[in-house]
Symmetry: D2
Subunit: 341 residues, 4 copies
């Protein structure tokens, strides 16, 4: 940490800050400048809490220097991680796709989608048995019945299942069925849940909170790794900004940012990111070109009658066209022809 | 809902939208205009899902008209609610204060604060036994031991306890000790938790999520009321914006907004809202002047050695001065002299 | 416009709103519903000012229906516009690149860049003779001397010039030299300047304001078209959000949004959008894949000694690699091989 | 500035950064730590441009330490400035009010308002002769005719005039008539205009840009002071955030922030800040309680027929009530009884 003193800070004030730093067990390094003095702190094994220093007389600002994350950082692990889920790999050289409806609505629809994915070489299906909804009066998912349907779809088609865990109570049941546990944007800082999936034996898909900085997001992943599960894939799904023509603001530049700071793979969800199915294909292509490690897309056999998120769900036909376009693009981006599987 | 057609929408496109509306069981009211046609939907008992309509050919926009909330709205209950917690009342004509440290650090400190509050006529103490922290390596609270300390402070001084519930697991124990259950900003859309406190026999303090719109916030309260608990107090604690000179951006104008839309009381937390103790007094005064129904403030006997949030905690002496100022202001605002108790 | 009445609005209140609408010369269409009445307004040639209605007793909300823009909208002109600047074309099937330094620093450097662009088939050079700077103490550009250098570079190499107009005073001189007049983000709502470039005989590059909604941006373009100049290209360059790991948040999804609402071409500036040169290549590729109509990139022969924006300027070598990658991608996106020229 | 190296930065990389710093004429102070090295820069008279350093190999981050502003800062001038406009004083111990309509609509209305203000002891009237409007088709103000009306109102009643300068062209004429020149939010970084009012002999009211950080705002004021005019009053008028229930998000906590950093007075405009007249009284009271140095409020004799901003304009009767409430509050806040004049 760097402590910046005001221009008019007195010598005794500087000395007192140094004393407090020493009392914390660290080493102060005063640097007198033309206008003011700055004091660097060294000897600290991790981030220093600015609390005891920030409000001392003469202190203008405390600037944090050390990154707070450990296990998720590039500095802990230089090489990019590759996370295997079923036959899909999230990591360098791959761009697997997770597709499916917002929610499990009934068995027929899930089987239709699962067969479609199998035929089109898409390795993973998304579909929520438990749904977080802003309103208590909206459809909340089929629960256990939905899980049974997903288990059957998996057994029949071999397509892997990605589904959301909303609370610790239902985690055991979901862990039995799912190939990948999704933690949703609203739960990104539900620390009890993060600890629970950190003890799971299944990979975790951690969505970015709607107002989460990259650091907060990486620290949420840190909770999971810290419990022993290092099979974590991050998912950008749009942030909240003033921009009002899309449901959220898809922050694609977070792809190279995360890849610079962390060894974990990052994928993109343009369906929640934009909220309209006609914006999904351009943003899916953009995610691939930006170097994302995969894609999550909402599709539905009959979006106009979907129980939730209909406007952002692609038709199966539209998704088929998108797949063709992405395969073409993947080659131009230097990926292998089977990189989407 | 209002469906706005594009300027170049054809007559058959308008007709198809009307058919879909009828198929949903509602009544379409086409209004042909100079440039375009708009179709009002009536006959719906609650909000209409735009999903099936939004992406039909010729549709430019769907505009929601009906408010999604029911139980929390002024239209459900015209009169402002008054929520009693111990001897404090949150509601018109009152401005009770909740004060205390961020976390229970040890018994001596909690007893010091509790006695101080009792002597100064402050009815409620805040202090977390369980703490949500961005980093898994930060102090996470004393847990059960912290609850025991709070119970003792309450027994000895009579000051009521407001403390945070972070997950369903620990809710039973906390409900035994606390006079008011706090749901933190990060958990505002933890729906399992909202349902649990909705079944509690204690009043709930629901903090606004850092990026929550007023509607999302009121819908979170709706989850609680819908389970049978209508003793809910809302708490504004700052939102996330681009502004970088304060920890969060305290959105004080939400006070009259919430009071217009809902019958629930709303209080303000300027400590989290600003993140610096020297900004707390002006913002506390502003909250009172803006008509808030109470205040939550972080105080600490020795902020420079606090285990968390030291920079935003007031000293006991500073808080004493603030109380005197607020009492003066309360009279000028037409409140009674004991309205802060 | 749609006027939504509160649930408890009385019949006389509804009648009064209808009277006010009639007094404005329009036609009210009351639609009584299960819970409340909504009143549609028809007979209005353009947007209705909600002012006289919004605060009438019993009115809950006024919802605008008519789009405020005219000349820039798809409804005015269905076909996408193609804007020619020198030998470059901004429009469907093309992806021309504008590259160059932030500012004209000296003649040698500008000639180096201009020759480099000519050799690499890049049609347009950017470089500011006048620079808007947050601080009055920062380098403000060479002014007229900078314009002379740009004129010479153009004469020698044939590369077209894109440069910023900051005020009406210097517009005449700049219009003589530039092939395209840039209006910067800070001036997006400088209406005197918009009117001035609306009377120019040169195409205009209109950057999005850092906090501008799509509608405000299109209305700024409307000012230019309304003065008679319909040669306008829009440029997304990042918006302000809470996200703090990039200089701005590049809002790529605005590309399909603008293309749906307007016939004007839209290009992307990933240099200002991200603020770091290593994030520019992934975001440039993403812009192309998202369907943008062109690109603006900052490059510098010696970025570490640039007088401004050094961190986000690519080296000539790095830009060369990016060009090769974009050409490959362009083909996969269905563009012709010379589409970047 | 502080240069933070990555954990794996090599000794030669550290050395190279030090060399670059020396080449810039400054002194590097390397501080080797447990995990990484940080390098403090001293010997610089003002802010250091991170450009040449930020992208060097091994550099993780550059952190700015020195504040970029000079003349507007507390460190330049410790004592709070008091700015006199007519008989009003903006500064400690005062809370003058500027009230009036959005725009000069006609002479009768301006005279009505001016007489009302005189009778109620309000020292300054706001009213725009030139209006910045998002749409080119909205009412743009009466221009010169409007200025003549303002001059007459001033001559007859003695109430001072605050009116907006939108461009350099009309500045001379406005300077003749106005007692205070207003620079609007959209023009906060119109640097030509800032320089022009910096050469004016009249005080300037500088509104905060809708997405301006405090630092950008203070630097805009710095442009004005740097030209020789130190009679600058700042005005908070709401920022853009995701919050959608008010027109803007009034950032009241900026009042103590600005007062800590700068000696310039700061006032608040709750009319633009909220966008609804019923939210103006609570926010006006909050601004006073928060310690603001004055208030700007929109009022109109007949808001329902205002040509602009009707919904946020108070009636004269409503404003009268607000004045009474504010006078009561002012006393409780320790101001003198005539502090609003």
């Amino acid at each position: 940490m760097l402590v910046v003193m005001s221009c008019d800070a007195t010598e005794p004030q500087v000395e007192r800050v140094c004393d407090v730093i020493r009392a914390m067990g660290f080493r102060p390094n005063a640097m007198p400048g033309a206008n003011r003095t700055a004091i660097g702190i060294t000897g600290n094994p991790g981030p220093v809490d600015p609390g005891p220093i920030e409000m001392l007389p003469g202190v203008a600002q405390c600037i944090r220097v050390t990154q707070p994350h450990k296990l998720v950082g590039r500095e802990f692990r230089t090489e990019s991680s590759s996370i295997r889920v079923g036959r899909a790999v999230f990591g360098p050289g791959h761009f697997p796709i997770i597709a499916g409806p917002c929610a499990v609505e009934n068995e027929a629809m899930i089987m239709t989608v699962a067969h479609f994915l199998k035929e089109h070489g898409v390795p993973l299906m998304r579909a929520g048995a438990y749904k977080p909804r802003t309103s208590p009066y909206s459809f909340q998912g089929l629960g256990v019945e939905g899980l049974d349907i997903l288990a059957k779809a998996r057994a029949v088609t071999g397509v892997g299942i990605v589904t959301e865990v909303m609370d610790v109570e239902s985690a055991d049941r979901i862990e039995e069925v799912a190939d990948m546990l999704q933690v949703g944007a609203r739960n990104m800082q539900n620390f009890a849940l993060l600890r629970r999936v950190g003890r799971a034996r299944k990979p975790v898909l951690l969505k970015r909170g709607i107002a989460a900085t990259v650091e907060e997001w990486l620290m949420a992943a840190e909770y999971i790794l810290n419990e022993g599960n290092d099979q974590v894939v991050l998912c950008e799904r749009g942030i909240r900004s003033f921009a009002d023509q899309t449901r959220n603001t898809l922050d694609l530049s977070v792809v190279p940012v995360v890849q610079r700071l962390s060894h974990l793979p990052i994928i993109v969800d343009p369906s929640h990111g934009t909220g309209r199915r006609d914006y999904v294909p351009p943003m899916a292509a953009a995610a691939l070109a930006a170097g994302a490690n995969g894609l999550m897309v909402e599709i539905h056999p009959d979006p106009n009658h979907a129980l939730s998120d209909g406007a952002q769900s692609m038709t199966l036909g539209g998704f088929d066209e998108l797949l063709a376009k992405l395969r073409q693009l993947a080659t131009a981006c230097g990926l292998k022809s089977d990189s989407l599987s």
